[in-house]
C-alpha cells in the first residue's frame, strides 16, 4: 500500500514539475527533495548530474545561441529548463531508491509484466556494456588512437541496436505465445 501511495505521489510530482514555471517554487521543491534524500544525497546528486549533464548542456547552448542571434532573453528559460530536468531526474532516482517498483505496480498484471521485461533488459544491457568496457580495457596495451575509439563506439552502438531489435522480436513472440496479445 505504501509503495502504491508513493507511486501516486511520484506521478503527481512529475505532473506538477512539468506544469509549474515558477523558479522559486521549483527551487524549494528541489531543496525539499534534497532533505528527503538524507544520507543518499551525494550519490543521488552524482547520478542525476551524470544523467542530465550532456542533454542539458546541448539544449542550453543551443538555446543561448538561438537567443543571442534573435536578440531574445534566454537566461530565465535556460535556468528553468536545467532546474526542471534536474529536479525530474533527481525525483526519479529518489523514488526508485525508496520504493519497491514491483510492489507499487502490483495492482496491474500488465504493468508488472512490462516492468519485469524492462528491468531484465536493463540488467542484461548493463552487464553487456560493462563487458564491452572491460574487454577493451583488457586488450589495451597503450592509449588507443582516435580511430580505434570511434570504431569501438560504433561497434557498441550497432551491437546494442541489433540486440534490441532481436530481443524485442523475441519478447513479443514469447508474449504472444503466452497469450499476452489478443489477435
Amino acid at each position: 500500500m505504501k509503495d502504491r501511495l508513493m507511486l501516486l505521489l511520484y506521478i503527481a510530482s512529475v505532473l506538477m514539475l512539468t506544469s509549474v514555471h515558477d523558479l522559486l517554487f521549483l527551487s524549494f521543491f528541489l531543496l525539499s527533495l534534497f532533505l528527503i534524500s538524507g544520507k543518499d544525497l551525494l550519490s543521488l546528486l552524482r547520478k542525476s548530474f551524470i544523467s542530465v549533464v550532456f542533454f542539458n548542456f546541448a539544449v542550453s547552448i543551443s538555446y543561448i545561441i538561438f537567443g543571442l542571434l534573435k536578440g531574445q532573453e534566454w537566461l530565465s528559460y535556460v535556468v528553468l529548463l536545467n532546474l526542471r530536468v534536474f529536479s525530474l531526474t533527481f525525483l526519479t532516482f529518489l523514488f526508485v531508491s525508496k520504493i519497491n517498483f514491483f510492489k507499487a505496480v502490483s495492482f496491474s498484471k500488465t504493468l508488472q509484466y512490462l516492468l519485469t521485461i524492462s528491468y531484465s533488459q536493463i540488467t542484461a544491457y548493463t552487464k553487456s556494456f560493462e563487458d564491452f568496457r572491460l574487454s577493451l580495457k583488457s586488450r589495451l596495451i597503450q592509449r588507443p588512437d582516435r580511430k580505434d575509439v570511434y570504431t569501438f563506439i560504433s561497434r557498441v552502438f550497432s551491437y546494442f541496436f541489433k540486440k534490441s531489435v532481436e530481443n524485442s522480436k523475441e519478447i513479443s513472440q514469447a508474449m504472444r505465445s503466452r497469450g499476452f496479445f489478443i489477435d
Binding site: 563487458d131 564491452f132 583488457s138 586488450r139 596495451i141 570504431t151 561497434r155 551491437y159
Partner: protein, 254 residues
C-alpha cells in the same frame, strides 16, 4: 607467479569473492569450478587487473596489483601483454571491421605489423579462410577462435579463459580442449561443466555459493569426493550415474 591473499570483492553490498587465498605457479593449468554466481568471472577480472579487491591483496610476479600500479605505463603495458582474458561472450571483445584487423589489434598497438604472425595464428586456430570476413557475422565457435587468436598473438604468459566452452557445440569443445592442452602457458579456466574440467587442468579450485574457496587441490581427488561435488552443486544425476560406473567423463580425463 600469482598470489591472492585474503581477497574479497563486493558488488554494492553483495560479496562476489570472500577471503580468497590462492597461489598459482608458472605453467600451471588450473580450473576454477563453481555454480553460476559463485564469483568465477569476477575472480578472472581481478586477476586481469580490470577490477580491484575491496580487501586483501593480489600480487603478480611479486608486484602488488592496484589501481596505482597501472599508472606506471611500462608496468601496465607489460601486464596487459602478459596477462590476457578471453571473455565469456566473444561479442563483447570484437569491434574491428575484419578478422585480420581484430587479430592484428594487439600487435598494432605495439607498432608491429606482424603479417606472418597473424597468418600463423590464424592457421593454428583454423580461421585463416576467415581473415577478410567481418567478425560479427561468424558463428559462436568462430568468434571464440578469433578472440583467442587476438590474445595469443601477443604471446602472453597467463591465459585467463572465462567459460570458453559454454557456447560451443561438442565438436568445437573437443577441438578447443585439445588445442588448449597443447599450449605451454599458465592457463586459468572457469567452468561449471565437470565433463570438460578434467581435460582443462590438473588442479581444481572450487568456489561455493558463499563465494569462498571450498576446495583447492588435485582434480582427481575432487572427482572422487562425491559429497564435496554435491555440496558445491557441481554434480547432477547424470554425472552421478557415470560416477557410479566409475567411468565419469572427467575422471577418465584425469
Amino acid at each position: 607467479m600469482i598470489e591472492l591473499k585474503n581477497l574479497s570483492y563486493k558488488y554494492g553490498e553483495k560479496y562476489a569473492l570472500k577471503d580468497i587465498n590462492l597461489t598459482l605457479n608458472k605453467g600451471e593449468k588450473i580450473v576454477i569450478l563453481g555454480v553460476n554466481g559463485s564469483g568465477k568471472s569476477t575472480l578472472l577480472k581481478v586477476i586481469n587487473g580490470l577490477i580491484f579487491p575491496d580487501t586483501g591483496e593480489y600480487f603478480y610476479k611479486g608486484r602488488k596489483i592496484t589501481k596505482k600500479a597501472f599508472r606506471d605505463k611500462n608496468f601496465a603495458k607489460n601486464f596487459r601483454k602478459e596477462v590476457v582474458l578471453l571473455f565469456q561472450n566473444p561479442d563483447s571483445m570484437l569491434f574491428n571491421p575484419t578478422v585480420y584487423d581484430e587479430i592484428a589489434f594487439g600487435l598494432r598497438q605495439l607498432g608491429i605489423e606482424g603479417k606472418d604472425r597473424i597468418k600463423n595464428w590464424a592457421e593454428r586456430l583454423r580461421i585463416d579462410h576467415l581473415l577478410s570476413r567481418s567478425p560479427f557475422d561468424l558463428s559462436g565457435g568462430e568468434k571464440q577462435k578469433v578472440c583467442l587468436a587476438s590474445l595469443l598473438i601477443l604471446e602472453p604468459e597467463v591465459l585467463l579463459l572465462d567459460e570458453p566452452t559454454a557456447n560451443l557445440d561438442p565438436a568445437s569443445t573437443d577441438w578447443l580442449v585439445e588445442f588448449l592442452s597443447g599450449l605451454d602457458k599458465t592457463i586459468i579456466t572457469t567452468t561449471h561443466n565437470l565433463y570438460t574440467a578434467g581435460y582443462l587442468g590438473k588442479r581444481a579450485v572450487v568456489l561455493d555459493k558463499d563465494h569462498k574457496v571450498l576446495y583447492d587441490g588435485d582434480m582427481k581427488s575432487l572427482f572422487s569426493d562425491k559429497d564435496l561435488l554435491k555440496r558445491a552443486n557441481l554434480m547432477h544425476r547424470h554425472f552421478i550415474g557415470y560416477y557410479r560406473k566409475g567411468e565419469g567423463y572427467g575422471r577418465k580425463a584425469c
